[in-house]
């Protein structure tokens, strides 16, 4: 084919999945931050669970707004100036931002664990054959919320004009602008959406573990990245499969070996995937003529 391909530089620097992951990574720490701050406020007020149970929707919205704002500012100062720079630049910037955020939270909130009273308790028994399995309500709720959000996010990306613009910007930023898409605004919105989702993830983390400190966002962030790499960067179903796999592997590992070293499992997967299967399980096939 005779057509000259347009310069790679126009296409490389914005990757939807990478943007979401960066937004997520830098946001998870702060998300975990916003929710407990508000939770603690509630605790001091009356020191009882009831207040938390009444106020959590408000706190969640506040956490999302705060995290989205953070993320918007971070995109402006730490990513936008690097657009069109070499591919690794935003990643390095993301790591820098993540270190900055953790330290910032440490200074503001102190280095110790913060906790909230349990928000959801109790278990459900599901009878299976002669026996039954027991699942905690909070786990069931986490699972359900995650599934619903995934569905909503998938719908936004695949079916709405905003999602289409996001994909167009990812695939060819310059062409998107020639069709009237405001590239800067689209990327900002992507970060804001990613960060709001991370805020919910942070809140779910609190529901699950009940305690958090300034550095707790880091490991989940890297694991989320591992899940995305394992599933194939750029593939939403891949991220789901990757996440489930990582969870299963960690659980098995803890059961058969030692739970002290379960992070080793996740990080080994990251290394092995990057070396032997860089496009992941469901990564996009590279058969395209452009």
């Amino acid at each position: 084919m005779a057509a000259p391909s347009s310069s790679g530089a126009d296409r490389a620097p914005f990757d939807l999945a990478v943007a979401l992951r960066d937004a997520g990574m830098s946001a998870l720490g702060t998300a975990g931050l916003a929710f407990p701050i508000l939770a603690l406020r509630a605790e001091q007020d009356m020191s009882n669970q009831l207040v938390l149970q009444q106020r959590w929707p408000l706190m969640l919205i506040a956490a999302m707004a705060l995290t989205a704002l953070w993320s918007y500012v971070i995109e402006r100062v730490a990513y936008r100036p690097l657009r069109g720079s070499f591919r690794l630049a935003p990643l390095i910037s993301a790591i820098g931002m993540s270190i900055f955020l953790m330290n910032f939270v440490q200074v503001v909130q102190g280095p110790r664990n913060k906790s909230i009273p349990p928000l959801i308790s109790g278990v459900v028994e599901i009878p299976i054959g002669s026996g039954s399995i027991t699942i905690a309500w909070k786990q069931l709720i986490i699972f359900t919320v995650t599934a619903l959000l995934l569905g909503a996010f998938w719908y936004i990306v695949q079916k709405t004009p905003l999602g289409r613009s996001m994909r167009a910007v990812e695939q060819d930023r310059k062409m998107a602008s020639l069709l009237g898409i405001d590239v800067d605004r689209t990327i900002s919105l992507t970060f804001v959406i990613g960060a709001s989702l991370a805020a919910i993830a942070g809140a779910l983390y609190m529901v699950r573990y009940g305690v958090i400190n300034f550095a707790d966002g880091f490991v989940p962030g890297v694991k989320a990245f591992t899940a995305a790499v394992l599933g194939g960067i750029g593939s939403l179903p891949g991220a789901v499969v990757g996440g489930l796999l990582i969870g299963l592997i960690e659980t098995m590992w803890s059961h058969y070996f030692s739970s002290d070293y379960k992070d080793v499992a996740a990080f080994s997967i990251l290394a092995v995937t990057l070396i032997f299967m860089p496009s992941g399980l469901l990564g996009r096939p590279e058969v395209e003529k452009v």
């Binding site: 289409r164 994909r167 310059k174 020639l178 009237g180």
Partner: protein, 256 residues
């Protein structure tokens, strides 16, 4: 969005050149230190087909992209419909209903044909989307058959059709085409040029056409400009340029 729909424009056959729609004056564009455009003056009037021909590297594609502000002209002015657009952002320029089928086609490879066409209609918020879709499918029936196929897997010719159809989905007041004949079979080239002529004749669509295929382009266009090394060296009616010995010698050997 304000402006009147493009396709209601100028009455067809009796060619009364309309008012100037796009005017480039003294436009200079640089890539770093390299000067690609050395002060060019081009005018496109409403209802006209104007072509820009020139050898490889003359600056034809640069001219088209400069109109969109990517890269931005370092000197000179670009007026569209009476408004200075020299300093606007590319997406703001696109929203004035200037559409481009750029060099290399730039189809979104991991979007379907249908989604690519939806992207073309973004600026008018999908008003009259179905109607416009029917129109481009009637022009290029191939695209209807391929509607759910990914853009990146289309053949070169199909991608070219899609690029033009995508540009038309915005109901442009000015359609800019960068080498629509590139890499296509003569029959398809003929078909695409027929479509352009038809749109211009029946709906008064204004077209700015960049071509290597000077013979076809000059026959189709009302007026043409010859670009050499970033400067306009000749301008005139299409037929007139076609008759000039210099043009024939430089751009038309080997016929069409």
């Amino acid at each position: 969005m304000s402006a009147a729909p493009a396709l209601a424009g100028v009455a067809g056959s009796g060619r009364q050149p309309g008012k100037p729609l796009l005017t480039l004056s003294g436009v200079e564009t640089f890539y770093g230190k390299i000067q690609a455009l050395k002060g060019i003056d081009i005018e496109v009037r409403e209802g006209e087909i104007v072509t820009l021909i020139g050898a490889n590297g003359a600056g034809k594609s640069t001219t088209m992209m400069t109109v969109f502000g990517a890269p931005r002209a370092r000197r000179g002015t670009i007026i569209f419909d009476g408004r200075d657009i020299t300093r606007l952002e590319p997406h703001q320029i696109a929203r004035l209903q200037i559409a481009q089928s750029p060099e290399g086609r730039r189809i979104f490879p991991r979007m379907t044909v249908y989604e690519n066409l939806q992207m073309g209609a973004s600026i008018n918020n999908f008003a009259h989307f179905d109607e416009d879709l029917e129109r481009v499918f009637a022009m290029f029936p191939r695209l209807r058959e391929r509607a759910q196929q990914r853009g990146g897997t289309l053949s070169g010719g199909e991608q070219q059709m899609l690029a033009i159809a995508r540009a038309l989905m915005s109901r442009p007041r000015l359609l800019m085409l960068d080498e629509p004949s590139l890499g296509l079979a003569p029959l398809v080239v003929r078909q695409i040029f027929d479509v352009i002529a038809e749109l211009n004749r029946t709906q008064g669509l204004t077209v700015f056409l960049v071509e290597q295929n000077a013979f076809h382009a000059l026959k189709l266009a009302h007026r043409g400009y010859v670009l050499v090394n970033g400067a306009v060296t000749m301008a005139g009616a299409g037929a007139e340029l076609l008759a000039r010995p210099e043009v024939r010698a430089a751009y038309l050997e080997g016929g069409h």
